[in-house]
């Protein structure tokens, strides 16, 4: 049976309060202890999610009514019609009238369920006239967000430290539901999301928005939401996408329109700064330092922090011939991937990020090439 939802308005509001920690209201205090026994859908913040919530409650209560009726009959029979209380078996075995009745009545109950569901589906599929369109791309194992009209884009990866996952540190309040760069959208605006993937299937899911859409490599699907409340909303990848499937959350910050405009201006400023000097020469130590964080974001899941990889699945970088060989070969491998293996192309990373991570791997663990790869070299290799 479905979760027990509360019927009365007051009780439901209380439940919503409880679930605030779960829905991830930005300013909510830690409700972890209270929210632990969460038993209903998360508090909806879009009209469609609200309809889904109500539809679930409606169908749940119909099921409860049928349940009580049917099993009331069964348990009555179990207690009254047993041999040990001396009940003698009747021998009837058909009754056409009754059989027709219990075929037809469920059919009509279903009609009452289908009608509101149909209305919600029609609303759900109407992604026309959006205020803002964002392209969402699923990667193993992070999300990419591109604001198509604004010319900005960034990646969003898990921010929970490995030490918490491996139980070496206490877990934070938003354990596994926190990212470095959340998606930011304005409140009360119809946001259309174009969803795709670069490698395998993923699914972009924000429960409070009522949006769950598979991300399919090679195809673009759309969905939309109109968040009516400022706050931070957390979800996760919902389609098994490999080893780190459980570690690629979705975090969306809904900002007031003014805050959103300010955030947008900042982002555009950043893009301009990066675009300024493509030929800059970076110091060896800077490259290694930056490379280490790029490695942690993109490479560590497979090749491991130790650079030893996973025997049989992911090859080691420590002592690898490619990493210790000519720079050009390693740059080409990162840009093109290695077809037929899990090693994907990382050409979506910036020249600086690629230069940094290559420099890092060439000088980490037992690798001691001592050289550095500059962003310009990556740029040349791209052409």
């Amino acid at each position: 049976m479905a979760g027990i939802s509360t019927g009365s308005g007051a009780a439901r509001r209380r439940l919503k309060m409880l679930s605030a920690g779960l829905a991830g209201c930005a300013f909510a205090q830690s409700h972890v202890a209270l929210a632990a026994f969460e038993w209903n859908l998360q508090t909806p913040v879009t009209p469609i999610a609200q309809q889904m919530f109500d539809l679930h409650s409606y169908i749940f209560w119909i099921c409860v009514a049928i349940f009580i009726l049917v099993f009331g009959v069964m348990f009555y029979s179990i207690f009254k019609h047993r041999k040990s209380v001396g009940h003698r078996a009747a021998q009837f075995h058909e009754n056409t009238f009754v059989e027709i009745v219990w075929t037809v009545i469920p059919f009509f109950i279903l009609l009452f369920m289908a009608y509101p569901a149909t209305k919600t589906i029609l609303g759900m599929k109407d992604a026309t006239a959006p205020d803002l369109t964002i392209k969402v791309t699923g990667y193993q194992w992070k999300w990419g967000y591109d604001y198509l009209q604004e010319g900005i884009g960034f990646y969003s990866s898990l921010a929970t430290p490995l030490a918490q996952i491996e139980n070496r540190e206490p877990k934070g309040e938003n354990y596994l539901l926190e990212v470095d760069n959340p998606l930011v959208v304005p409140v009360d605006s119809k946001v259309r999301v174009l969803i795709t993937a670069s490698d395998v299937l993923h699914a972009w899911w924000v429960p409070a928005f009522g949006v769950k859409q598979d991300a399919i490599p090679g195809f673009v699907r759309d969905s939309w939401f109109k968040a009516e409340q400022v706050g931070t909303y957390r979800g996760s990848c919902a389609e098994l996408c490999g080893k780190e499937h459980g570690f690629m959350p979705v975090v969306v910050e809904v900002k007031s329109k003014d805050d959103y405009a300010r955030w947008l201006a900042e982002q555009k400023q950043k893009v301009a700064v990066v675009a300024e000097d493509p030929n800059k020469v970076m110091a060896h130590a800077d490259l290694v330092g930056k490379g280490e964080s790029v490695f942690a974001q993109n490479c560590m899941a497979c090749h491991q922090a130790t650079g030893k990889g996973v025997a049989g699945a992911f090859p080691p970088l420590d002592g690898s011939q490619i990493v210790n060989g000519p720079k050009v070969a390693q740059i080409a491998l990162l840009l093109n991937g290695k077809p037929g293996t899990a090693m994907a192309s990382f050409k979506q990373l910036s020249d600086t990020d690629l230069a940094a991570v290559i420099t890092y791997t060439r000088n980490a663990w037992s690798n001691k090439t001592g050289d550095a790869v500059q962003p310009a070299e990556v740029r040349t290799a791209r052409q």
Binding site: H56, V70, M74, E94, T118, T120, G218, G242, A313
Partner: protein, 533 residues
């Protein structure tokens, strides 16, 4: 060994005919063409696989006992969920159903054996190599398949050679199922005793007849899907690769065209068993026999029209969402008819509650709950929230474990006296029931809440707010797992003959043909067809 034509040439009335005996020792089991021996092999095999798959489930629950990674690595965790699904479906539930069919269908329709006795041997002996391949895949580079039992590409194209072994294992198990099904269809249509018309057959034979047709229809579809996967992996085809003109979603359509009838393949034989057990222990004939047959057929036909309800989140057109929602909801009608018929069978009966009846009533109660959650999931907008969450995990364990498995437990206790000649230990049977019933709900009921609150399935670690229900579910899972040892104990006791001797008809209400035979049922039965009223 006896073959059917030979039996017809020289019908014997005696039990111990040396010319018709069997090889001794292990060769008896390897070369047997006897439906009872093969039934036993199927049932013992599925019991073993039930524990193998169960150990995988407990590994999953151990990892999910608390947040953080403690027991296994994420990749191995994914292999566990994948192989748990495959082993339980193809190794435990389906072979168990075929085991029941082998033992019971010939005895229930008054046939001397299955129609194709040698093929019957081959159908069984294909299974161990298939399972061995699945087990070996843990030790190959890259490990066992880890893309979920649904094997969705492109993830399954990315995987190591464990996936190839899995694909071949599925091919082999599919071939085994198809042969088993052809055998069952032929047996039922051709070897019924005179007077046993189709509409007089025990309900178990009806549900299996329909199941067998479903299997013949959809196993080749699965074989096609995994073969396309194989050629995409190794031979440069692009069925599921957009870059080559294919579509990853095509696999899902083909897979679920198999997959949805498959879930009815898993449940219909269970419906059949329950339809035998409930009348026996209510001492009253099955209510609405004809409508039961039509409802079963109706469910089977509808099962071909609802596959895309497993894919509501792939981004289907509105018309697709509406069509698959409506047809899926319609399944509630014939399923409801079956539940009401079972209730009407119990109504005004004279019920007693031995282990088979307990499991049958437990089935009725919990399967119906699984039916309700199925209805909730059928509603597309609600499914958008619940798809790929623990709610779905809860739903299908209610219908597969409390549905199929509980019905098979009912069938095992019901027919063990006939198979072994020894009554099972009623106390152990009752403990097994209550242990299973309570721990099942402790394990799976909280998963509804987890799914509603937003916990995705197939994750090795989870956010903090899911911790408490997961802890309860893990405790329940271990309780459920250990409760199953009672079944093993009860079965061993019966096989060893440690218990009260069973009479030919140990159940007062049993009225099908197998109860006219002595217990244990002789090696060859109904060499001369019985007369059916």
């Amino acid at each position: 060994m006896s073959t059917i034509p030979h039996d017809h040439v020289a019908p014997h009335e005696h039990d111990q005919d040396h010319a018709h005996g069997y090889a001794g020792g292990i060769m008896r089991w390897i070369t047997t063409t006897n439906h009872k021996d093969i039934g036993t092999l199927y049932l013992l095999f599925s019991l073993l696989m039930f524990f193998v798959g169960g150990c995988m489930a407990l590994t999953i629950r151990a990892e999910l006992f608390q947040p953080g990674l403690q027991v296994v690595h994420p990749e191995f965790f994914n292999s566990m969920t994948t192989l748990h699904g495959l082993i339980m479906i193809f190794g435990a539930i389906m072979p168990a159903a075929v085991g029941f069919a082998n033992w019971q269908i010939p005895m229930m329709i008054g046939a001397p054996d299955m129609a194709f006795a040698r093929m019957n041997n081959w159908s069984f002996w294909l299974l161990p190599p298939a399972v061995i391949m699945l087990m070996v895949s843990f030790f190959v580079p890259g490990g066992a398949a880890a893309g979920g039992w649904t094997l969705y590409p492109p993830l399954s194209v990315q995987a190591g050679m464990g996936m190839d072994l899995t694909i071949f294992a599925i091919h082999i198990m599919g071939a085994s199922s198809i042969m088993g099904s052809i055998n069952i269809v032929t047996t039922i249509l051709n070897l019924r005793a005179p007077g046993m018309t189709l509409m007089k057959m025990p309900m178990f034979c009806w549900t299996w007849l329909i199941t067998a047709y479903l299997l013949i229809a959809v196993m080749p579809v699965l074989a096609g899907a995994v073969t396309m996967l194989l050629t995409d992996r190794h031979f440069g085809t692009s069925f599921f690769n957009a870059a080559g003109g294919g579509d990853p979603v095509l696999f899902q359509h083909v897979f679920w065209f198999f997959g949805h009838p498959e879930v009815y393949i898993l449940i219909l034989p269970a419906f059949g068993i329950v339809s035998q057990v409930l009348p026996t222990f209510s001492r009253k004939p099955l209510f609405g026999y004809a409508s039961m047959v039509y409802a079963t057929a109706g469910i089977a036909i509808l099962s071909f029209l609802v596959w895309a309800h497993h894919m509501f989140t792939v981004g289907m057109p509105t018309a697709g969402l509406l069509f698959f929602m409506y047809v899926t909801m319609l399944i509630a009608v014939p399923t409801g008819v079956k539940v009401f018929n079972w209730l009407a069978t119990m109504w005004k009966g004279a019920m007693t509650f031995e282990a088979p009846m307990l499991f049958a009533v437990g089935f009725l109660f919990l399967f119906t709950m699984g039916g309700f959650t199925g209805l909730v999931l059928a509603i597309t907008p609600v499914d958008i929230q619940l798809h790929d969450t623990y709610y779905v995990v809860a739903h299908f364990h209610y219908v597969m474990v409390a549905g199929s498995l509980f019905a098979f437990f009912a069938g095992a206790y019901y027919w063990l006296p006939k198979w072994t000649g020894t009554m099972y230990d009623e106390t152990i049977g009752k403990w097994h029931f209550w242990g299973s019933m309570i721990f099942f709900n402790v394990t799976f009921f909280p998963m509804h809440f987890l799914g509603l609150a937003g916990m995705p399935r197939r994750i090795p670690d989870y956010a903090q707010q899911f911790a408490d229900w997961n802890l309860i579910a893990s405790i329940g899972a271990f309780g459920f797992g250990f409760s199953q040892l009672l079944l093993v104990y009860a079965v061993i006791k019966c096989i060893r003959g440690d218990g009260e001797k069973a009479s030919a008809k140990p159940w007062e209400g049993g009225d099908t043909l197998e109860w006219t035979l002595p217990s244990p049922a002789p090696y060859h039965t109904f060499e001369t067809p019985p007369a059916v009223r």
